[in-house]
Structure formats: structure tokens, C-alpha cells
Symmetry: C2
Subunit: 444 residues, 2 copies
């Protein structure tokens, strides 16, 4: 019973399931019908089948751990009571019309919290687009295309399901996935405090990305963030100027970004300020070892983007150390004094020796994190082999910032396979390094 029933439910009831395309109860069935466990469309007004599953009249006729409630808010309490009686351990409530709207909605939400308590039932929502766990083929959401989202090693835990879905689609567009995505909505009885520890224990999750608008149980939330061993990246949205709009969304209390930042300073939580940074920081942290320090080696095949990266690194407090004498000799031998060979090392153009230059810098004891920039040229490609070897042999983050025509895609993905995360704009690579720097500052 409880939160684990969201993760690997033995049987799923879809309450308010529908045969009519465009209806929420149909969209939810479309997403869940291929789940490998039993699926039960529940609707007393429907008969026949949907996706080969026979409609049942009541949740009492099914053997399920999880209910997806596709019914409007006024009948949610009744439906939830039925779920409790039927022994269902977790329910997702999509409908809005609760604490985020008015006094009546608040009472309705109090009522479902009470029912949740009575039956020890985990409630995701209300007022959420749901969640997904791709590796279980479990898409508990009405968003039609959510099934495109594939498995990855970043968990998204977002107060707004819209932000979770946006982030998941943004990851998907660059061929990444999620270990899980939870849209929390109104957090009737399940929020950050309940789900961070579960995701912290999830072996598929290497970083947890949080999107926070405001939390009633802030002390509990801060506590689980402090205690988590999995690195956390947090994006606090919803400034005080927007109080009405924020409250209308998930009935969140108004809290300043600084409240979270100050409370979690030095606690292994990295703060970011956009969706793209949330994703990029999480990927960088999930895919690379925790660096031993803040010394960055920058190798670039083009000076201009290299300067942009160096600018950003300076701003985030990274150190670009002098290279060790031996490294410098190796680099100078490789580059024959072409351009700027001190750190940052600028090769002036991709060269056959580019991989060896990265190798030299990455193996330097003065360097804790490596960032590379290279515009792809088909005739030379990316130094995939050298990077594969490096990723195996050294225990340091290597961040690869890429640009080029679409033909680079294959080699970009080979680098990802080798554990070298790639970023498709100079500032994105730099902000990934900034996240690693912030993480290590916490750990020093």
C-alpha cells in the first residue's frame, strides 16, 4: 500500500475510462492500455471493450493497486472512497477544481486528504497531468504523446506537470529520457517530501530534477533534500510578484527562491534558473563522476565559442588552472605552436590530433573537469575512440559541447553512449560545468 503502488502496480483501474477519442478517460486508456499488468476500464455507463479490455461497472470488481481517476472534481471524493474500500493503494487525480480554486475546492481537497488518511492511500494530485515511468511502460497521464518519452537516468519531480512534460519532451527531442516523471499538482498527500526519498532509492535514477513553485511542508522538503544521496538539481519558479497566478495553479504558498537556496546551501543541491538548465545540469551530474575539485580544463577547436565558454566559467567561479609542465609540453608538441595552447587550449580547427589534445588535458592532475568544444567536420568527425578510452580510464567529468549539421548526430550519440554528455550550444556546455562546480563546492 502507499507510494510504492505508484511504481510497480499490480493491476490498474482507469475510473471514468471512455471509448470516445478526445475524452480524458480515453486519453488515459491510450497511454496505459499496453502496461504489462492488468488494466481495468471502470465506467458504469459504458459497456463493451476499449483496447480489448472489458468495461467493469465498479472498482469493487477489480484487483488493482493503482487507480487513474478520470472523473470531474465533484465526484472525486466518492470515487476515492470506493478506491479505498476496494483496497487500492494509490490514486492519480487529474481533475482540477480543488484547493487551487476556492473555498469549496479547499473543502473538497480536505475531504480527499481525509479519505487518503483513512485508507492509507497515496494520492498524486489532484490537478495534475500525471506521471510516467518509461522503463515499466507505465504512462499514468492523459497527455496523448507522453508515450514518446523514453527511459533515461534523470528523474523529474515537478510541481507543475506541465513543466515535467515540457522537460520530458525537451529531453526526448535530443534523444534523452527519464527514469520517472512526476507532476505533483496540488500535493494532497504526496509531494516532494514523499517522493524524493523514493527516487533517491531508485537504482535507475542518477540525478533528481525538482521544479518547485511553493510548498506547505517546506521543512520536510528541505530535510529530504538534505538527506538524499542522489544529487538534486532544483529550479524554484514563481516569484512573489506572481502570487495570485501561482496560487491559482497548485495552491502553492508564496515563497522566495532565496528561501530554498539559503536553506540548502552546501547540501549538495544545485540551483538553476531555467528549464533548459534544469535538464542540462541534471544530465551532466547524472552522467559523469562527481569532480574532485573546481579546476576546469577547456579544449576548443574554435576560439570564439571557447571564449564564450571561458566567460561563463569565470562567472561561475570555476578555476582554469595552468597545465602541468608535462601536459603543456605534450600539447605544444601536438599543436606546434599553432594558437593559444595554455588552458584554454585552442587547436584553431578540428585536427587529427584533437583527441590526443583532450587526452593530455584530461589526464593532467591539475584538472578536475574537462569541457570540450568542437564544430563538427565530416572529414575528421569527433574523437569518439579517444573519449571512450578516457571515460573508462579517468574518473573525471568530460563535457562535450557540440555544433554542426545534423550529420554529427550519430557520433554525438556514440559519445553519449560512452558516458560523455553532449550539449548543443556554448552556454549550455558552460552551464553544465557550472552545475558540477556548484555540486563540488557543496562537497568540498
Amino acid at each position: 500500500m502507499g507510494v510504492t503502488d505508484l511504481f510497480d502496480p499490480d493491476g490498474i483501474a482507469v475510473i471514468g475510462a471512455s471509448k470516445t477519442p478526445g475524452k480524458l478517460g480515453n486519453d488515459a486508456m491510450t497511454n496505459i492500455h499496453s502496461y504489462e499488468g492488468d488494466v481495468y476500464p471502470v465506467n458504469p455507463s459504458s459497456s463493451g471493450e476499449v483496447y480489448g479490455y472489458e468495461f467493469v461497472e465498479s472498482v469493487h470488481e477489480v484487483d488493482a493497486d493503482l487507480a487513474l481517476c478520470c472523473v470531474p472534481s465533484p465526484i472525486v471524493p466518492e470515487v476515492l472512497e470506493d478506491c479505498g474500500e476496494a483496497g487500492i493503494g494509490a490514486a492519480v487525480i487529474f481533475a482540477g477544481g480543488f484547493a487551487e480554486v476556492d473555498e469549496e475546492g479547499q473543502e473538497r481537497q480536505d475531504e480527499i486528504v481525509r479519505i487518503g488518511d483513512e485508507y492509507d492511500m497515496t494520492i498524486l494530485g489532484p490537478n495534475t497531468a500525471g506521471y510516467c515511468i518509461p522503463h515499466l511502460d507505465l504512462y499514468g497521464s492523459f497527455v496523448p504523446e507522453i508515450r514518446d518519452v523514453e527511459t533515461g537516468n534523470v528523474a523529474l519531480l515537478t510541481q507543475s506537470a506541465g513543466v515535467g512534460i515540457t522537460s520530458a519532451f525537451q529531453l526526448d527531442r535530443e534523444e534523452y529520457g527519464v527514469s520517472a516523471m512526476f507532476g505533483l499538482g496540488n500535493r494532497a498527500n504526496t509531494g516532494f517530501a514523499e517522493l524524493v526519498p523514493v527516487l533517491d532509492d531508485d537504482p535507475l535514477t542518477d540525478a533528481i530534477a525538482l521544479h518547485i513553485e511553493g510548498t506547505e511542508d517546506i521543512d520536510k522538503v528541505l530535510k529530504v533534500c538534505r538527506e538524499a544521496e542522489t544529487p538534486i538539481v532544483a529550479y524554484k519558479a514563481g516569484s512573489e510578484e506572481l502570487s495570485d497566478f501561482v496560487e491559482s495553479h497548485t495552491s502553492a504558498p508564496i515563497q522566495a527562491r532565496e528561501t530554498y537556496e539559503d536553506a540548502l546551501a552546501g547540501e549538495g543541491v544545485v540551483f538553476v534558473s531555467s528549464v533548459t538548465e534544469l535538464i542540462d545540469a541534471s544530465r551532466a551530474i547524472a552522467d559523469t563522476p562527481i569532480p574532485a575539485g573546481q579546476n576546469v580544463g577547456l579544449v576548443t577547436a574554435q576560439a570564439g565559442p571557447g571564449i564564450i565558454i571561458a566567460d561563463e566559467l569565470n562567472e561561475c567561479g570555476a578555476v582554469l588552472p595552468e597545465l602541468d609542465e608535462e601536459t603543456q609540453e605534450r600539447v605544444d608538441d601536438l599543436l606546434q605552436g599553432i594558437t593559444y595552447t595554455e588552458n584554454p587550449v585552442d587547436t584553431g580547427r578540428p585536427l587529427p590530433e584533437f583527441g590526443q589534445v583532450i587526452d593530455a588535458v584530461a589526464r593532467d592532475d591539475n584538472v578536475d573537469i574537462v569541457i570540450v568544444y568542437e564544430i563538427y567536420e565530416d572529414s575528421l568527425g569527433y574523437p569518439v575512440d579517444e573519449l571512450e578510452t578516457l571515460a573508462e580510464e579517468i574518473d573525471k567529468p568530460i563535457i562535450f559541447t557540440v555544433a554542426g549539421p545534423e550529420s554529427f548526430e550519430e557520433e554525438r550519440l556514440q559519445m553519449e553512449e560512452a558516458g560523455i554528455p553532449t550539449f548543443q550550444a556554448p552556454e549550455r556546455g558552460a552551464s553544465a560545468v557550472a552545475a558540477l562546480i556548484e555540486l563540488v563546492a557543496d562537497n568540498v
Copy 2:
């Protein structure tokens, strides 16, 4: 003669052309060989043909306006002298090894400036990856895949050709193009001051994107920026902390970002701080009318991303005005009190009425700029028809921020066709609006 010979040359000489793949003189031939004018591979040590063009021994045997010089720096002065004698009006010098390296390089650069003066010859570079003008099929660069870059209405004028190429590829990845891309390199005699006015006159260019590291002729640069009628977006990279590295790149003097910002405040130049912002701001400005004021109407189908956009708008000084009474009634009728219907208008999910809601807000006299956010759902799609009508009938910028699976791509591009620029992350849409706000602040 002069700078116009870069734009529509009658005959192009490729000096140092080569049959050997991987050589700069071969890469340059690969890019230029399909240019519709005459192309002359010049190389006294080669015979036979390359891409069907017969090698010639000397530039004196050709009838060309433009020379692409694919030779190493020590022989550049000699080659350039030949070009001048042969009546060539413009030359691109790819080689590094000039003012950016040492005293000897500085002397070499002085020499080519002298030759340029003597023959009234425009010199792009040295130390540049070149330029391209896709609508002329003119790719004067050695970067092999530059030919992927297609025609658009933003001109990129970048001190670092690497940044220009990166930006062009980033545009290309999202199906945009450029009217022209110039990598300036060392700016022997052709830089921002010379090219901004030409691009300002170019009918295909609706916005000029500048990437500046530092300029010797800053007063002239500021003057042409002030005088340009085409909106300019500028990204000043290369902070003072990086002086050595910046100087080693294109021998740029060290100048603070503020020097440019202060001098161009109120002059219709929008400043940004990343490559992605440079591209996005330029696209937004190029594709939409100049707004009449700073009042923004925000329509979102998902509250969470809407809050993120509203946060960013607040920070950039945008005003989210109350809607006119009539507009508010129309919106409330359409949404039936579902969610937050004041500006920002939150529809809670994409609805069949979504396009009508946008229409109501966009036609409100209190609103100067509209930004929309919608996660795509196949069953409803994007309100393409309504937006096409709106773009025709009202003279206001409409910015559409999109998210979704790849299946949205077709409708996204339909919106682009209709003159509604799209942005693929909440903060990217918001920063596009911020650019419009900054532009109108200058014009008020």
C-alpha cells in the same frame, strides 16, 4: 570593386585549390564549386581538373571579382598583390598567423592592409572560416558542412567565424536559415563598420545579429549601429579577465560589455548574453512587427510553464496589463471560469477554443505583444488557422512557445510560415519577448 564583390561576385578564384580531400583548398572548392558564376581553381603545382573546373596557373589568367585565398600566411601578401594586379575586388583570407600571433604577424597584417589600400580591395579576414550567402549559393568557407545552412532573414556578423558557424548550425537544426553569415576574423580592412551598412541595405535581412569580442574602430562601429535602420541584436563576448585568450583569437582590444551597452542605449540595439539568445532575439525581431508598447498578453495552456514565462517577463520590465472589459468577458465566456482567466490567461489544457482565446487577447488594445505557451496534443494540435488570420489582421508580435513530441513539427513550421516565430523552451519564448521589449523601450 570593394565590399560589394563579396556579395555577388562575377567569377571566383580559389587560390591554392586542391584535389586532395581534407586540404583547405579542397574544402573551399567543395563549398564553392556549384556557385552559378565562373569558378577558377588556381594552383601552379596542380593540373587537370577539380569538380570539372580546369586548374589555372595564376590569378592573372582568370576573370574574377572574388578570391578565396587558401594559402598559408607567409605567402598571403604575394598572393594578394597578384589579386590586386589582376583586378580582383575582394579577397577572403582564411589563414591565421597575422596580428593575433606576434610582431611578425602584425607586420604581415600591416602589409596586406597596405595592399588592400593600394588596390582598393576588400579583405575578409585574415584568420577567418569565411562567409556564406545561401540565397546566392555562395559558400566562401572551408567548413565542409556549411552548405547545409539555408536561406533565412537574419544576418550573422560575427567577429569569430566559429560563433557565426555555430549560430548558423543552431538555426539550421530548428529549420531556420540566414540571409548571410560573415566571420570577420582579424578585420584587416573589413569589419562591423564596413558590413553593417551593407546588410542594413540588404532587402533579405530583417535583423542583424552581431557577435563582438572587441574592435579597434569602436567609434565607427557604434556609429553604423546607431545609423542602421534594420534592428540589431548584439552579443559582446570576451570579458576583461580573458584578455590574453581574446587577443590571441582575432587580436581584439579588450573592451567591456558595458562600453557597448552604454554607448548604444536607446539606439535600437538589443543586447543579449548567449548564442541562443542572439539567435532567438534576432528571429523574434526579424519575423514580427515592432510592437507599439511594452504591454504583454500571456496565454498559456499549462500554468506551470506560464508562471516561468511570467517570472521572466517581470524581470525584463514587461507589463502584463489588465485586459479590456470586453476581452475579459469574451475570455471568461470561452473558458467558463475554468482557471485563471485574467492576464496571464491560463486555459488549463489545450482546448478547441484555444485559438479563440489567443484571438481575444491579441485584439485587445491594451496588449502590444502576445506570447502563447502550449504543449502540443495531437488530437487538438496548434491553432494554426486562427494564428494565420491574426498575423494577417493585426500588427503585433505574436510569439509562440512550443513543447511536445516531434509530431508537432509540421504545425510548428506552419506557424513559422504564417509569421509566428516559435521557441522550444519557456525561457526562450520569454527572452524573445524581452528582446522586443528592449527594442520598443529604445523606440518609445
